[in-house]
Symmetry: C2
Subunit: 443 residues, 2 copies
């Protein structure tokens, strides 16, 4: 998973925040989108060789301009410190020459991935002789709305380029200076390899009003991908008439079944909760079958406490927690919360049915896991849980494009339309039916 999924919500930027005014006061975000649409045509029929050469050119240009980028980033960091951004946010905002090298390396890796465009998804010859092919083609123009993460600017540009799309970026006021320089560097680099610079454009200069305008450019913008906190995503979902792919909240559960291998269960719980806490595929609620609670919980809770985890437990859990375990009584708010911190909600349930009920009530549809040795329990859990990913005897942390072998990832979709789970390059494409005849008419 790209780390940026876990960014807390940027404070709402206003037009007044925008550090770079539109170059031409009369120009609109719509004009930006029209340029993107025209530019996207050049890319739609570009070969993989052209696109990969462009990715390498972008990477080289970022490294060559690292000093300028770091200088602009220093301005953003100074403004961020003044406005009281948290240490975590400042760290996410910060760019160093090393980080820029890493971002450039990711672009070069993208060049190594297969091109999704042109894949024949389905094909056949009909009884009447018509030859059908359903081809994978670029969407056209992709909009990204995200927050205070200059690395996402490059990631999104690279993924869009490789999948044959133009991209319009709204990166938020906190990273506006960094993003302005980065987008300029990327656009110039595209021109050097003969592609239009308008394939990568920022609308940060239009502030929040520009983002809202972008959300209404249905027909010009083919899809909008919001990345960030729940508030940002909900705003885009509510406001946008452009189709949105929601990248969502992960309130992930793990159920330790009566038949679980308790050693495996402890290892998976620790990994899912503590391997990285601020990410959407981290564990947030542990459900334990009543029959193994007495044996499992005292050990599991002690190990979690050693790792610094605070337990938000139901009454039974609190009884089983040793004195060394930091505990808080759990309320419904705990069952609903994606902590993104060293906190874990824990509940003892009567059986698989109660676990499924709990998950049905509180799941965000991201990742749900079971630890079990019982085939029937495993199959019921897989069949009945309604989520993008279901794990059997594995950590929730595997819901990730890289881990699942999809290559690069633009986000993790928790909605059901178009893409569900990790979204790779193929999810930034659509399809086109091509039907070839010899003068065929319909009888």
């Amino acid at each position: 998973m790209t780390a940026s999924l876990d960014a807390p919500l940027d404070t709402a930027p206003t037009s007044a925040d925008a550090p770079v005014p539109p170059v031409d006061g009369a120009e609109s975000v719509e004009a930006v989108a029209r340029r993107a649409k025209v530019a996207s045509r050049a890319l739609a029929t570009a070969t993989r060789a052209t696109k990969d050469a462009a990715l390498h050119a972008l990477a080289d240009a970022l490294v060559a301009n690292a000093d300028r980028i770091v200088a602009a980033n220093a301005d953003d960091l100074a403004r961020g410190r003044e406005s009281g951004l948290s240490a975590g946010l400042l760290d996410r905002l910060a760019l160093t020459p090393d980080r820029i090298d890493g971002i450039a390396a990711a672009l070069r890796e993208l060049a190594g991935l297969p091109d999704p465009v042109g894949e024949v998804v389905r094909g056949s010859t009909l009884p009447n002789g018509l030859r059908l092919r359903q081809l994978r083609v670029p969407m056209g123009v992709v909009g990204m709305i995200y927050e205070a993460r200059p690395n996402v600017t490059v990631d999104a540009a690279g993924l869009a380029l490789k999948s044959g799309n133009a991209v319009i970026l709204r990166g938020g006021s906190a990273a506006a200076s960094s993003n302005a320089v980065i987008v300029g560097v990327l656009a110039d680099a595209l021109e050097t390899v003969g592609l239009p610079g308008a394939l990568v454009q920022s609308i940060d200069a239009w502030g929040r009003a520009g983002a809202v305008e972008l959300m209404h450019l249905r027909g010009l913008v083919d899809v909008l991908v919001p990345r960030g906190g729940a508030d940002l995503i909900q705003t885009v979902v509510r406001e946008s008439t452009v189709p949105v792919i929601e990248t969502g909240v992960g309130n992930c559960h793990l159920f330790v079944d009566e038949s679980a291998d308790l050693g495996d269960a402890i290892a998976i719980v620790l990994n899912a909760k503590t391997q990285r806490v601020g990410v959407c595929n981290a564990l947030e609620t542990l459900l334990v079958h009543d029959a193994v609670a007495d044996e499992f919980l005292p050990i599991a809770l002690a190990e979690l406490a050693d790792a610094g985890v605070t337990i938000h437990g139901d009454a039974r859990t609190l009884e089983l927690a040793g004195d060394e375990v930091a505990t808080v009584p759990a309320t419904d708010e705990d069952w609903a919360t994606e902590y993104l911190s060293l906190d874990l909600a824990v509940r003892v349930v009567d059986d698989l049915d109660e676990a499924l009920d709990h998950i049905r009530t509180w799941s965000s549809g991201h990742t749900e896991a079971i630890v079990t040795r019982d085939l029937a329990s495993s199959e019921r859990f897989v069949a009945e849980v309604d989520a993008a990913a279901v794990m059997v005897n594995a950590s929730t942390r595997f819901t990730d494009g890289g881990q699942l072998g999809l290559g690069a990832e633009i986000g993790i979709s928790t909605q059901k339309l178009h893409a569900r789970g990790p979204m790779g390059l193929a999810e930034l494409t659509t399809t086109k039916w091509v039907v070839q005849g010899d003068g065929h008419v319909r009888p």
Copy 2:
């Protein structure tokens, strides 16, 4: 294609129009949706045998209750006549025992189609031993908003059932009496085979306010499919926070290239324009290469005139039309119009570039066709036209789930997300990643 895609917009119904008030004044559309969600769970894990038996039970029940349905339909027709519905709309609204037999037969055909649920879309074993499968699973709850077509009530219920989804139907005031009886018959029939009646529910009784409430039940309703005129679809797109699949307008073009077999071109133009006029895949604009206009147009226009077609032509076309051809000078409005009638816009273009330009400007992204014998022209047209379907030497009328071998069809999507072109059963499903390990944790 199901004919209902071409229905003109129902006159906006108001709550006052609703002939059947909600059974319980306190109940909300949200309560209906919650029942649907619960009911959908029973269906999500049902076997194909169960679903197919239910489809046969629905068909039998419709035939057995044909008298009641026809009687309710007579009320709708009487109200329709009073309110001045056109003859075309009244015909679409009308149900007879024969038509009910036809609708029932379509349900039985649906039972013969493969079950999309459970298909393994992708799968692999990762280097670390994790076993991955991406399974096709039902969406959950599908909402349908359509107009004055009681046959769509049954089609939508059947497609939803076969694909494992509950359906909430908003069929409009004009067909409200028919739909109320039909939904009652379908729900009762579901109960006889042990499935919840709440799998098929109508919200017609809540009127227009109910439709708006449905559009905001994100989380409870998984997808909304509007079917009807452009105004209806645009209203849903604008208003809905539930993800929408747009079934759209077909402003379809055909370009007769310099190298075309002119005999084929005439046959295809006639078929595409006149085989059925009120449908979204009918031809609306003919573009003719300048080099063949003198030879092609006089013959083609005469044959179109014989078939009763009025030509809306550019200056060159009007010059080439014989006296027997009914002509009107074309304006930009003609290039933009989906006539759905015996009218055709005709323009002579300088070359393929001008044809592509015209299509780029006016296309609704449904179906575009070229008649050519030149490989390079064919390949450029296929690559550069941005539409759900591109036809080479074949009629636009082939953009249809049945014609393309997809089986049943719920509509034709002109958007790029999730489904593009004819939408069959698979497009009413989503996927779920299932990951099986043996205590796997992320390093």
